[in-house]
Subunit: 302 residues, 4 copies
């Protein structure tokens, strides 16, 4: 079952832009060592849209083997073509993944009926739960769509919420009870979504701070909101604001930070993503120093 | 060189949703018999986003062989990952295609610099011209982007215009002279874009009416606007309005019409597209009868 | 009761940009002479967003007096501030208007709850029915919102549908029966929306062709679809495609056409609208000649 | 001249939704006592779109009188109708305001030419500088538009940047030198925009923390980035993340916080804005306590 603190990891590349498997394994170990309950690969943060099918399968192979028994594995299986997404979901199922994370179809203008069929077709594949990515590709998933998908497949079990509507946590709970678990999915909205009753977190913030997020999650479960808020304001807000406020740079931010922290070897991204400006790197590095995630000596190099 | 009347064809499937190669060949012959100067495969109309890489290559093989020497071939090579798009462009180049049609990257929010690098990287591949798809995936391509792409590759030669701004035809001409040819790309805006000086047409309307479009194009070149308008209002407006006004149904409309006309065997689309409603089919069929594209007897079956 | 053929009229200005009351009266007479059952003022076509409150009231005064007993009057009462919209609705009610047409609030990002309260507050004002403008300001109104508005006010009676989803006509009918009448509201989608069961038309197309639209509407009611389609393809498609395909120019198109036809004195629009290009005027004029709405002699002046 | 720390204030209402003039004066004094260099009224934060013209003028009267000689005054003069916006700008000019803040026209789809004429017409009014609101109403203002507006009026002097592209600060500087000053305008992006060279701040964050923002601004001018970042991460990030991440609730957040802090009497907003949920209030209150902006005793009431 998917719950608690789930971390969405990037896909590390080497300088040539090829998948750096050693860095990937290192990154998996890093987030597990920080105490995460699950890992999500091939999400937006994983640059899924810029990977070939063969590369996606290789990443599933590596992650499923490395995490086996230590943490849950959720695999991004988003694609604008339903069958192509379903085929990847089947592969993830075969390899023992726990769930697939799926955005609405993102090319062109899709009808409500098309969105429902898309999710349901993928949900009916193999032996694997479906996590709908609300807000993925910029498209909100209405509660009515979730309802209809559930009538077509019992595998629809989770919602990653990134649409900026924390009240949707409660709305989903009122509609489906424990049958659909909502996971806070937007780094900038962790606290309001947890307070509204999210059953877990699916964030990129965990790449740097999975330990703090586990504590925050636990404190909120115990209704110790004030303590959770203090931890959040001290450690998560400064990070989330610099990594999360510019949507088309957050992947670069996490790669840069993980490289500075020595977790991955290289902060390369694939086109159409482009590197951070020097000003942005400076801003990010100063936050990492303030947070003692890197030492000032490293920071002084900038 | 790409100019004149270019038709964007759908990808015919059989009832099982597999590519129907015989219908594809039939469709290629049909549009060539109607007197088109070029064919575009793997565009949005071709459901490119729902085809595997192997299927795309197979379609390129068939089209390049069938059209050889009879009409130009433009191949859609859009993808959210730049390298994946470039790899397909290289394949199209190898097979002798004349140009690739490329939308802006369509997953997530892309920076201007990312869009420029995306187009330029594809334009530098192989021995094939680049046609930028302005408005593809809903994203307008600014004139400044085209300018910068041109500084990176001499292969940037064409713009398919679907953004509803016919004045952009003139704007592009003023900026780049004959170096960048604008092709009218939106079925609902054929006349205003031609009057503004488009060097050709890239439409799906040609699947049904390539002969009329060739005439209209010729009349506009001779500045016989009034005659062109009469032809347009009689034959193109009634078609374009029913097929083109609902963006997420136009592919289904063309497949349905081509099936009714006996050109392809089946009007199947792939998910996330869903079939037309009966009311829409009726509306479409009545237009086809009015236009004498099918006989009333066929229409009376509805 | 609002039904049948309703025409949305522009607001005529003189060369100085002031309201031209004589042209307004002429225009009201013109559409009534063409046999329309109702008139809508202060819609988007009426440039409501660029009129002062005093001007809006003056237009209501003139229209209510001129139409009295001859046609229904619907008044646009859209505004981003709920109270300001409600105040205008109260005025329209006082002056005997039959309904108010209201878009969702259009400045900023509005919550679902905010949209519901907005409509309900206006619906509770005075003694006047509410027509929700689905798609107004580019925002779709979900069926669930209509349901909740209806629980707050019995005055919610009509939906002007411009979102390109003709199937919504049926969806609304299934949800609310005869309690909420859907009016086809998009010039490019008249036939599919009527076939789906719209109880009337609210179009700008009627400014030029109210007589034909009345016939089409009647034929569809008698299920004589084929005849309706022939009329549509001959007279409405050529007009709608040239006036309706470029969203930010349709007001200018109708003013230009009405001026050419001698109905209003001047085609002036207020900023931020800007005049049509010469190419667009030419395109429009040729359609008017083809349609015999103006004589070729007038057209030859271009 | 507009520069340094500028605060965008809300419009205080009483329980009946009328303007609370005493609270407004209190709020003006509060932000000046915190050391702000200027105040912006009638921005989005001021709910300008829900105020009558008479109310707007009254607010200008009060603010211009209260601030006289103590701080600069910028007045929001946004409206979808150009002439109506210009008329308010003229009033602000008469009353001695220093600048007007203007969004692109926000109803309907506006052409580039329309946007240019809109800004230029307002800029030519009276004796008052023009601050273009980039990103206002969700619309980005291209650099080319600014260039053309400048050719029509010398009054175009400032850009409030809210589009999430800090690099635009540099881009504008490279294009226009000191002729156009960019002010950081998005609470979540204060640091990256300042590091890129913004000449000042126009934020709502200053309502709570104008003193800290003045310090941050000063430190960045002295290139003491690390110290600025520490202050930001400690005091601004926790506030900005809770108030700024949900776009359609930030006005409510500031009103609630200012009420809790005793600056204004009531946190009433006008429809279509709706009140915060209890969960959101709790989240906000805990941040205020952590920041020692209110005492824990007040917080414990929740």
């Amino acid at each position: 079952m998917i719950k608690g603190n789930q971390v969405i990891i990037p896909t590390p590349f080497n300088e040539q832009g090829e998948i750096d498997e050693r860095s990937l394994i290192n990154l998996l170990d890093h987030v597990m060592n920080l105490g995460t309950e699950g890992v999500i690969t091939l999400g937006t943060t994983g640059e899924f849209y810029a990977l070939t099918n063969a590369e996606k399968k290789r990443i599933i192979d590596i992650a499923s083997e490395r995490l086996k028994g230590r943490a849950s594995l959720t695999v991004g299986a988003s694609h604008s073509g339903t069958d192509i997404a379903a085929e990847l979901a089947a592969y993830a199922s075969e390899k023992g993944a726990d769930a697939v994370l799926v955005t609405p179809p993102y090319y062109g203008q899709v009808t409500t009926e098309g969105m429902i069929q898309h999710f349901a077709t993928i949900g009916l594949i193999g032996n694997i739960d479906l996590m709908i990515y609300d807000g993925g590709g910029g498209v909100e998933v209405p509660v009515g769509v979730i309802d209809q998908v559930r009538q077509l497949t019992t595998r629809m079990r989770y919602l990653k919420l990134t649409t900026p509507k924390p009240s949707k946590v409660r709305e989903i709970h009122e509609a489906f009870g424990g049958e659909v678990g909502v996971l806070a999915g937007e780094d900038l909205l962790i606290m309001p979504e947890l307070i509204e009753g999210a059953i877990g977190l699916t964030t990129a913030a965990g790449n740097l701070r999975a330990d703090v997020l586990t504590n925050i999650f636990q404190l909120v479960q115990e209704k110790r909101y004030q303590e959770a808020q203090v931890l959040h304001d001290r450690h998560i807000a400064p990070q989330a604001i610099v990594t999360g406020s510019i949507r088309n740079e957050f992947i670069q931010c996490f790669k840069f930070a993980l490289k500075e922290m020595g977790v991955i070897a290289c902060d390369k991204v694939r086109l159409p993503l482009t590197p951070l400006s020097e000003a942005r790197k400076q801003n990010l590095k100063q936050m990492l120093i303030n947070q003692q995630l890197i030492s000032a000596a490293e920071g002084s190099l900038v």
